[in-house]
Amino acid sequence: MDFELMINSFPKLLNATLVTLKLLSASLFFGLFVGLFFAILRISKNKFLNTFSYGFSYVFRGTPLLVQIFIIYFGLGQIEYLRSTMLWTVLKEPYWCAIIAFSLNTGAYTSEILRSAFQTIKRGYTEAGKSLGLKYSTIFYKIHIPIAIKQSLPAYGNEIILMLKGTSLASTVTLLDLTGVAKYIISTTFKPIEVFIVAGGIYLFITFLVHNFIKYLEKKFSYQ
């Protein structure tokens, strides 16, 4: 065990953790909107919108995240048309490519979580709202959304942790996130176990925080 290396690499890895956390929070933020959008399409009665949303989540859940990042980072640059648009300023940055891929990926999973949450809302709640003379939008925002949030919290907590692990793939498109820096240190020092313990410890610590935060939210949202 090389404890000196562990202590020396800790500040570097902690710095890289900031990149990981930035990637994670940005992806979760955009992913939530993507997820909500596709979940609403999914519960709509329009066959076309329904199938479109199902197709989106099927493709993004059925292929590895690595393929998705590579298509966006290496693939999209190949389209001449894109290079001439404003989008190119975003797509040439590996940072944004990673965020786009992560957001779409987590959006696909989130849409499934929200869909099942919406579908388990008992019809009685909607009927109660209707008989009170509430508008449909009020029923949706004040009754459906709070219940759906409560229903989907445990699954969404898992998704946050999966996404935290997913951000490690940013290192494959040249970003120096926690895994990227860990790999760099391993390949220069050839001390994989020491670096794994420090980097893995940081990941576990974040997982632990997320887990407890979700637990706290679950308690807050339970109305029994």
């Binding site: 099927y58 290496f74 693939g75 490690s168 860990a182 994989p192």
Partner: protein
């Protein structure tokens, strides 16, 4: 389309072999995962606090750390660890382990953590009466485990095992960083030499979709078969 031709002019045969490699790695990893689950599930279920701790740390650590980090650990540390063990037995030559073994081992350990959780859940949801009934009948431990618990556990675990299979299949794409030529690595090579990454990565995505689709079909039919009468 000529990019996908078989033979020397296209990448069809290479990608086909790479797909078989992905399937081979996934199956090997899944089996290694089951072996790990077979060890760690009893540890997690045992009443001994120390065994419990070992079982819980395995699943917590593996499920909380990115797959890529585990793969790097094995990729850079694998041959070192084997050489260390070999040196205890007096063998000091350099040993290189091939990418297939390191890769399927790394993915296997990850998949094992998920399988452990699935098996634990399945065993816990078996009716208590079954345990009591086999005690009353005086069955010995092995018959009780293999003839009473196992068949029921497998039926209950099957839907979640197909989830683990999906995760494992997708995780194998990460082994491409170690240089094992599976779908992802082959697409990377093809994309590099033809300068057509969009086509090859999209094709890789289609291959993965095909694999997940076909395996889900198969597993769903198994589920139907084993839940007859329930």
């Amino acid at each position: 389309m000529e990019l996908l031709a078989f033979g020397k002019t296209g990448w069809g045969d290479e990608l086909f072999i790479a797909t078989l490699m992905t399937i081979a790695v996934s199956l090997t990893a899944m089996i290694i995962g089951f072996l790990f689950a077979l060890i760690f599930t009893p540890l997690k279920l045992s009443k001994n606090k120390f065994y419990n701790l070992i079982g819980n740390s395995y699943t917590t650590v593996i499920r909380g750390v990115p797959e890529l980090l585990v793969i790097y650990l094995f990729f850079f540390g694998g041959s070192g660890a084997v050489m260390y063990v070999a040196s205890i037995f007096g063998y000091n030559e350099y040993i290189e382990i091939n990418a297939f073994i390191t890769g399927s081992f790394a993915i296997g350990i990850i998949s094992g953590a998920y399988s452990t959780e699935v098996f634990r859940g399945a065993i816990l949801s078996i009716d208590k009466g079954q345990f009591e009934a086999s005690k009353v009948l005086g069955l010995n431990k092995y018959i009780y485990f293999f003839k009473v618990i196992m068949p029921q556990m497998l039926r209950l675990a099957l839907p979640n095992i197909s989830n683990v299979w999906q995760i494992t299949l997708k995780d194998t794409s990460l082994i491409s960083v170690t240089g094992l030529v599976e779908i992802m690595r082959q697409s990377y090579i093809a994309a590099g030499s033809t300068r057509d990454p969009l086509f090859f990565y999209s094709f890789a995505a289609v291959l993965y979709l095909l694999l997940t689709y076909l395996s889900m079909k198969f597993l769903n039919s198994l589920e139907k078969k084993y839940s007859r009468g329930f």
